[in-house]
Subunit: 282 residues, 2 copies
């Protein structure tokens, strides 16, 4: 049994509610925050739950206020959960120095290098502690979970699903960091959180994991062609190649002229919600 | 002829583009910013244009990134224009001291009291300079204009339409400051921008204007019942009473449980876009 999370604010939205919570995380040894959208159906019955992992510098708020997901979640009866992207205010020196590492940039790994190892454990938080908390305190069907995300959070969604195919019945991503071992953002974060040996990074690289995962369910990825991070940081073609190697079903859509912003996400969010609903609401 | 505005950023969204511009405003004697959504139809033909005025502390960005209006604007072929809520960086002492006055709080009036009078002229900017600029540099039908807004911007939309019924073919508002002469926000702003004589405030109070305007077109207002500003600051019942007095058609909808946030706006934005489209796209 976990302590009930503390409600910070609530907002009615499309007949349901967008609520913000804080709670004491055992995994991360301190306070964590998340946002949750409970569709109107959740007043009457348990509903499937879809996790969204946000990108660098985001908090638990960005997705809820910018993506426009609630309308579709209300239509299909999906709970939406968006955790913060890292622990914050841990007291670790340098935590706020970089926008692409530390606070706001947990990279969905369990850090093994101090001083990060005791607090920055976003992988276990997202995969274990948070779903347990949600299942205990909100009317969800814990056996009907999907996950998606954007950029760093697209990377997070892919690795969570590939490592836990039974837990996540569906996965999709917007402009994910698809091969973090090979890009500057990933190399910087993994070196600092996991150490300098690239072998230790493999369990957190979707393009490596897919080679051994046997995920068996189709994966949906949208990628804007005008995304300034596409060529250097995101590398979806590496993931696509790996999927082809092992026969992993992948729908990778290059969306002409779209960039890395939430204007891109909002444009295609309905497709993603429907994709997850098809897997979770049957 | 006005100088073309400078493009700051562009973002493809629902087949059109959300662009941000800055330009030198003659009315406000300095730089102003606005955001514009050009729907896909605008690539082929001139389209009607719908202005959105934002609330206290907002910039030209909030509406574009939070309201979820682009999907419907793309469906109906409407241009959306969202100006900033005031001049900024004018050098006026105290401009940034208050969140409900000065920068981010222009209140859509032409200030008559110095030091504000030379720069804070949002009424003329919104009603004259900006529409002229838009008509000159973007593919709009200038005779098909609508206007809506939120809170302080709902007040702004109502007064612009009531004072210029031929210019604005449609008007609606989310949680407007509907009787600013009678509420603390309005009294503070009007005293500072217009002076201490409440008679000088009448031309900027929708509940006064409607008594003499003869607007003749129906007005749509949505108001959340859980809005913390409802009773002290917004006073829609004063506006409703004034409309009844003169037979002004008004649809005032109290939305149960909704607050003052963009979660409220996003929930009902489709209704408002359809309302304006019915008036502008025929």
């Amino acid at each position: 049994m976990s302590t009930a999370p503390n409600l910070i604010s609530k907002n009615k939205c499309f007949g349901g509610t967008v609520n913000f919570y804080q709670h004491q995380s055992q995994t991360c040894n301190g306070e964590m925050r998340f946002a949750i959208y409970q569709p109107p159906q959740a007043k009457l019955e348990r509903v499937p739950v879809l996790y969204f992992l946000s990108g660098l510098s985001c908090t638990e708020e960005n997705f809820m206020v910018k993506a426009g997901a609630q309308q579709l979640a209300a239509e299909y009866g999906l709970m939406l959960v968006a955790p913060d992207t890292s622990p914050r205010n841990t007291g670790i020196v340098g935590e706020e120095d970089d926008w692409d590492f530390g606070a706001g940039a947990g990279f969905y790994v369990d850090a093994t290098v101090e001083p990060w190892a005791s607090r920055y454990r976003m992988y276990s938080y997202v995969v274990h502690e948070l779903p347990d908390l949600i299942a205990e305190h909100f009317p969800v069907q814990p056996d009907k979970q999907g996950i998606f995300g954007h950029s760093m959070g697209g990377h997070g969604a892919l690795i969570c699903a590939l490592r836990n195919p039974e837990q996540y019945k569906s996965v999709s991503a917007f402009a994910p960091i698809a091969a973090p071992r090979r890009c500057p953002w990933g190399q910087k974060a993994f070196t600092n959180y996991l150490g300098s040996d690239p072998e230790s990074w493999r369990p957190y690289d979707a393009s490596e994991l897919v080679l051994i995962a046997g995920y068996n369910r189709p994966i949906l990825i949208d990628q804007g062609t005008a995304d300034p991070f596409l060529e250097e940081q995101l590398l979806p073609e590496v993931f696509q190649q790996a999927c082809e190697t092992v026969g992993q079903p992948l729908t990778l859509r290059f969306q002409e002229g779209y960039n890395h912003s939430y204007y891109f996400i909002a444009t295609f969010i309905a497709d993603h919600i429907r994709y997850h609903a098809a897997a979770l609401c049957s």
